[in-house]
């Protein structure tokens, strides 16, 4: 008999949780942002290396549950090589998926398809979205800074948490 939670904790999620990818901090990132879930204390930091408008490398340093770790790990695998527009579009589609909306046909979810089950557990959607929200925030900050907005303070280094 299958366990009702197998819809949430798919094997691929547990695989990413046990051996998360993209955890090495980047030495020369262009932007770093934090995400946190104040209700549970989970925290993460997303670093992006951006070359010629494309994400050349990324890292997520996360402390959190299986869902947030797996989602972070998948993020670092999937966004590498994307243009900033593509990464934003992908992130917005992940958000749609989590809220039960139609995902654009052009999007190949890959491993992230396994996170679809999270939308049936509303309190966990925030766990799955944490890294994506931080990534979207990082791109917005990077662009604002590139556009010469002096109010934007760019951080590139991860800090101790």
């Amino acid at each position: 008999m299958s366990h009702p939670l197998e819809a949430l904790y798919r094997d691929i999620i547990l695989d990413h949780y046990r051996a998360p990818r993209g955890v090495e901090p980047l030495k020369c990132a262009d932007v770093c942002t934090r995400g946190s879930n104040p209700s549970c204390g989970d925290e993460l930091q997303v670093q992006l290396k951006i070359v010629d408008g494309k994400i050349a490398d990324s890292s997520v340093k996360a402390r959190g549950c299986a869902i947030s770790i797996a989602s972070s790990s998948m993020l670092t695998e999937v966004i590498e090589g994307m243009t900033l527009d593509e990464a934003v579009d992908f992130g917005e589609n992940i958000r749609k998926m989590m809220h039960g909306q139609e995902v654009s046909k052009d999007i190949d979810l890959g491993d992230l398809d396994a996170l679809k089950g999270v939308r049936n557990f509303p309190v966990r959607v925030k766990c799955a979205m944490l890294a994506w929200v931080a990534m979207l925030d990082a791109i917005r900050k990077y662009r604002d800074s590139e556009a010469g907005d002096a109010n934007i303070q760019i951080t590139t280094e991860e800090t101790e948490t």
Partner: protein, 419 residues
């Protein structure tokens, strides 16, 4: 030594009969019998409390302290009966010392905004502990920001108790307020606050006890505790949500300015000058949560009928059983004291390799409701070296069999995560 931890129902409370008063405990959750182990967050309510709410609305409602008609007098009488009962429950000298608030958090904030802003000056010190709930941290940090006072913190030791070795340097003539929890909401630690408060008073400091966790579980006496203020919440002790109590010594309350301004709290109002109502009404602006205050009375009756000593004994037994059973798992770390003589029925733990969120999600699928997270105690989490814990907490209606259900679900959790 005989092992009596496996004995059937508690000798001190008739838990099976008690459970009949809590229909919610007969529910299923995710196709499993509900095992409710989160009373430290909020207790369930017996029928007597639920019925008191509907009885009040169906038969006695009118605004309190205003109408000249009989129905209004009835409502006022019921409302004030709760004040009398809670005064007796905590050993207050007078009902003037009992202020109704929304919850313990608001009670503590009331002290910070009124007594604190009036009395604290730059360089004065406030002493709290490392194991406080945010409700007994945030108001004081904000007060320090406003007044220039300095926050001092009693650390915890490796057993999760107050480490009093440096108390003499922390508690001095600079200290104006000592605000301590009597029971940790995370570790269940019962703090022996009375001697610390006695010393504080000798040095001229005012003392406040956060009794939100202790009042539902152990007898409370403000005289024995040496406290000037005490805060508690109805909803953690079988009563409705939306009702808290601030106890304050009459002399201090009289000297304090009001908190919120409006109806009920005034004596005379002109556009130039306002004089205030007498205690306790001076601190109760606006129409209060009458129905829930009235129903809180039924909760106090329920606790008194069981007896706080018997409740404490039951919780010592179930906590000892839980400590023994959970202690058998080498992959599980328990935080806080192991000695049930000075710990209550809140028990935090972590499972090796599995985040508390995932633990609680899995336990939920087995019908077991526990809390996971930082439990509004981030500084304590830091002191314990964790981001979060899972917490099981027990009350009058919990059984050893429910502890067994928790343990079985934890074993299944390990299998599910293939550890």
């Amino acid at each position: 030594m005989t092992d009596n931890t496996n004995k059937a129902p508690s000798q001190t409370l008739d838990v099976a009969r008690i459970r009949q008063d809590f229909p919610i405990l007969g529910r299923t959750m995710n196709d499993k019998p509900l095992v409710f182990l989160d009373s430290a967050a909020s207790s369930q309510k017996p029928n007597q409390v639920v019925e008191a709410i509907s009885n009040y609305y169906q038969n006695h409602h009118a605004n309190v302290h205003r109408g000249m008609y009989t129905l209004a007098a009835e409502a006022t009488d019921l409302f004030e009966t709760t004040r009398t009962k809670i005064a007796k429950f905590i050993g207050a000298a007078s009902t003037k010392e009992i202020i109704f608030t929304r919850n313990a958090t608001e009670a503590i904030n009331l002290v910070a905004y009124t007594w604190g802003e009036t009395n604290l000056k730059p360089g004065n010190e406030i002493l709290i502990s490392e194991m406080e709930h945010h409700a007994n941290i945030v108001p004081w940090v904000r007060l320090c920001e406003k007044t220039g006072a300095v926050l001092k913190v009693i650390p915890i030791d490796s057993d999760g108790r107050l480490d009093l070795t440096s108390l003499d340097s922390l508690l001095t003539t600079k200290t104006k307020l000592v605000a301590l929890s009597r029971m940790s909401n995370v570790m269940g630690t019962i703090n022996d606050v009375a001697p610390i408060f006695a010393k504080a008073r000798e040095l001229g400091a005012v003392t406040l006890v956060d009794a939100a966790q202790s009042a539902p579980h152990i007898p409370t006496d403000v005289t024995e505790l040496n406290c000037d203020f005490l805060a508690l919440s109805s909803h953690k002790m079988l009563g409705p949500t939306g009702v808290g109590i601030l106890y304050g010594r009459e002399e201090l309350l009289n000297a304090m300015p009001p908190f919120l301004g409006g109806g009920e709290m005034i004596d005379q109002v002109t556009f130039e000058k306002i004089t205030y109502n007498e205690l306790p009404h001076k601190f109760e602006a606006g129409t209060p949560d009458i129905a829930d205050v009235v129903a809180f009375s039924a909760a106090i009756d329920y606790l008194n009928d069981l007896g706080m000593d018997a409740i404490r004994q039951h919780e010592i037994e179930i906590t000892a059983y839980a400590l023994k059973k959970l202690g058998e798992f080498p992959w599980l770390t328990i935080y806080g004291p192991r000695d049930t003589n000075n710990r209550g029925a809140a028990l935090s733990f972590t499972v090796e390799g599995i985040h508390p969120h995932d633990v609680s999600q899995f336990l939920d699928s087995a019908g077991v409701a526990v809390r996971a997270g930082h439990h509004c105690a981030q500084p304590l989490m830091k002191a314990l070296g964790v981001d979060a814990t899972t917490r099981a907490s027990f009350y009058i209606y919990n059984t050893d069999a429910e502890v067994d259900s928790l343990c079985e679900a934890l074993l299944d959790l390990r299998k599910f995560f293939q550890l």
